[in-house]
């Protein structure tokens, strides 16, 4: 049976995974002069965020911190769980921080819980805990994980029969049965190449 939704623990603070800014991909710009952060869903646990803060807004954000807080201030992603709330910036269900280099530009975030809606702030955090926002992302619901506890009265079914149908539907193999042609053939090619004396000689006949 599938894992129990929400059974995974919440990580309070994540350490920054160094990421080189991906400027100049074949001549594409590193940024567009915007100040923004965008969050995308990857799977039930992970989201991806990319951002850009233009130099003017970067220094403006720093200036918003009280002078005594500027020394030792660090850029962070503040990841808010905003499930079921109309988010105002301070009413999230819970949140956790990730220290980032602002120029790193993007992050894959393990949110630690499933079936939630997330919003990511980027800003400066002073040593005294004061946080100044530079940009706020869109709300991003992660893909739903696990069988819904909600039962439709009009389409009711005996619990035992329901789980039988789930099993017949492949509930035990979710994510395992999704092969693509390319992947299958790549696996076959790797297998062939791993065998001794593989590869044919040019001009060997048929």
């Amino acid at each position: 049976m599938v894992k129990n939704p929400g059974s995974l623990t919440l990580t309070k603070t994540q350490t920054a995974r160094t990421s080189i800014p991906r400027a100049d991909k074949g001549g594409l710009p590193g940024g567009y002069g915007d100040t923004k952060i965008v969050a995308l869903p990857r799977d039930p646990l992970w989201i991806y965020a990319y951002w850009e803060i233009n130099p003017k807004d970067m220094s403006a954000t720093m200036k918003k911190l009280p002078p005594k807080s500027r020394d030792g201030a660090a850029w962070i992603l503040r990841v808010h769980d905003i499930t079921g709330v109309k988010f105002t910036g301070s009413n999230s269900v819970t949140s956790f921080d990730i220290f980032v280099a602002p120029e790193s530009g993007s992050w894959h975030i393990n949110c630690g819980r499933v079936n939630r809606v997330w919003c990511v702030d980027i800003g400066l955090s002073g040593p005294d805990g004061i946080f100044v926002l530079a940009a706020r992302s869109n709300a991003v619901p992660t893909p739903r994980f696990g069988i819904s506890p909600i039962v439709d009265d009009k389409w009711g079914i005996v619990e035992k029969d329901f789980y039988r149908i789930m099993k017949l539907s492949g509930a035990d193999d979710i994510g395992a049965g999704s092969f693509s042609t390319a992947r299958l053939m790549l696996e076959r090619w790797k297998e062939l190449m791993s065998l001794p004396s593989s590869g044919t000689k040019a001009g060997s006949g048929k």
Partner: protein
């Protein structure tokens, strides 16, 4: 036929990214399309036509994606294909002559000669416009052609609703151009769904789409029938779930059919085996040895390529028939089992990449041929059906919200969003934003401005093809995928700046229209 106990809905997803390079006389990646025609699309067309002519009941739901349909109706590409077919036929004749005294290989050489002759016959029959053949089969009710996102864009990773809607609208319009009516269903690229897409489908009059099994199983509220009946999304669009069991039976590298020892070995090709001077005229202009499509060996077993045994067409055909019987046996058992648990006749939906049949699994088309014949003649438990026909039988279905999902590895979006390809999204999203903004600021553009904005839409859509992100993940042909992504975004940006600054270079627009000519009657107002 008696009333069956359930229905089987085979779905073939025929798709290739739009690869067309008029700037080069000979371009390697165009081979994907030419090989697909010879090995998959034309053989499938031939089989479906024969089944229909013989009065055998069969149903196939088939995506012909707008990019593939665009290539199938492109004069340059079809002209190049015809030239290639002539050359390959010439090689096949030379091979029959070369091997006339070689008992082990002659039958296989003759097989290729016949296959290529059949391709030429179909090309002549439809004067190169083979979409007409598929359209005929749809008009006669044998197959149901569905559409796909215009350029196979991965919808859940788009941030602008108008950009998602444009992928659907332009696909729908293009479908009508090719098939003479509106599409009833859609295959969302990579079977990728997230909440809200169904509203756009509803607005565009699309009745059904498909999701991976857990898209249904994790729906809210619980799906009473699992994947064996469609759900209606709250807006009324039907959603069908992919069956894992039948997919696994074909796909699995352990128990799947394509790896059978009797079947043709994909990786051993005369492009590598034969004397260089003999094969050189059939290689690309650079003269590098590559596959040409004629292969004389069978899988044999877990042996290296030089240990492969000669292919025996009769033995392979026999095995394809056996596998078709095995597949049918399992579907009937599956259906009998399910129908004993649920209070309606179930539908089992089996989507596959069409290119599996023929291109990767050479015997795949004959497997399908045997399978449809056996379903027709040998049993009464299952019947082939399309989603539209099933919805006609069962118009009342449970309402629920499917879960976000895809048919990629692990079932979500990671294949298209990971460290190898995540960098593309900031550029794609910026282009989406600029495209929408430009469309809004120029609602009634005319003349050169209109052509420029239309071309912006083409460039953005071509950059959005999920194929590029997928290729970056798989690690093969990455350079080409990056080149395409970057190239289209750069062209888009240049056009955007020209429109914004009112300094359009007519020659530049004309050159892009010549090169990236997909969707000849595109209307950028699809973004409004």
């Amino acid at each position: 036929m008696r009333i069956p106990k359930g229905y089987w809905c085979p779905v073939l997803h025929a798709h290739l990214p739009y690869v067309r390079h008029p700037e080069y006389p000979d371009f390697l990646e165009e081979d994907w399309f030419y090989e697909g025609l010879t090995e998959t699309y034309l053989p499938l067309l031939a089989i479906f036509e024969n089944l229909a002519a013989e009065g055998i009941h069969f149903r196939v739901t088939m995506t012909i994606t707008p990019t593939l349909a665009g290539m199938m109706s492109d004069e340059l590409l079809m002209g190049r294909y015809r030239e290639r077919l002539v050359k390959l036929s010439e090689l096949s004749l030379k091979e029959v002559e070369r091997l006339k005294d070689d008992h082990d290989f002659l039958r296989t050489a003759e097989m290729y000669k016949n296959i290529l002759a059949d391709c030429r016959r179909l090309m002549d029959k439809y004067r190169g416009r083979i979409l007409a053949g598929f359209r005929n089969l749809q008009d006669s009710g044998h197959i149901e052609i569905i559409t796909c996102c215009a350029t196979h864009g991965f919808l859940p990773l788009m941030t602008h609703r108008d950009a998602i809607a444009a992928q659907i609208r332009i696909a729908k319009r293009d479908y009508k151009r090719h098939f003479g009516r509106d599409p009833r269903g859609i295959w969302l690229a990579e079977c990728a769904y997230s909440g809200g897409i169904e509203e756009i489908l509803r607005d565009e009059g699309i009745r059904f789409f498909f999701v991976e099994a857990h898209g249904i199983l994790y729906a809210e509220p619980r799906p009473k029938y699992g994947i064996f009946a469609p759900l209606y999304c709250p807006g009324g669009v039907a959603c069908f779930g992919r069956d894992q069991e039948s997919a696994h039976q074909v796909w699995s590298s352990e128990i799947g059919y394509p790896g059978d020892p009797s079947y043709r070995e994909f990786y051993r090709d005369v492009g590598y085996d034969l004397d260089y001077d003999y094969i050189k005229p059939y290689l690309h202009e650079d003269g590098v040895r590559r596959n040409v499509g004629i292969k004389y060996y069978r899988v044999t077993g877990k042996v290296p390529l030089d240990g492969k045994m000669p292919y025996d067409p009769a033995r392979a055909r026999e095995q394809a028939a056996t596998h078709a019987g095995n597949f049918l046996f399992n579907r009937t058992k599956q259906t009998e089992h399910i129908s004993s648990v649920i209070d309606r006749r179930p539908i089992v939906v089996s989507p596959f990449d069409a290119e599996l049949f023929g291109h990767w699994w050479f015997e795949g088309p004959m497997f399908l041929d045997y399978l449809f014949r056996k379903i027709h003649y040998d049993q009464n438990v299952i019947k082939c059906i399309t989603p539209t026909e099933y919805l006609d039988i069962y118009p009342k279905n449970q309402i629920a919200r499917p879960a976000a999902s895809s048919w990629g590895d692990k079932g979500y979006f990671e294949v298209w969003l990971n460290g190898s390809n995540d960098w593309i999204y900031r550029h794609l999203h910026k282009a989406e934003e600029r495209m929408t903004q430009t469309a809004r600021l120029n609602r009634q553009a005319a003349g050169l401005t209109r052509r420029s904005i239309n071309q912006m839409a083409r460039e953005l859509m071509l950059a959005q093809s999920s194929d590029w992100a997928f290729i970056m993940t798989t690690g093969t042909m990455v350079e080409y995928a990056m080149k395409r992504t970057v190239g289209h975004i750069r062209r888009f940006t240049k056009l955007y700046e020209q429109v914004r600054d009112r300094s359009i270079d007519g020659a530049y627009v004309a050159e892009l229209e010549r090169r990236d000519n997909i969707f000849p009657d595109i209307d950028y107002r699809a973004y409004l």
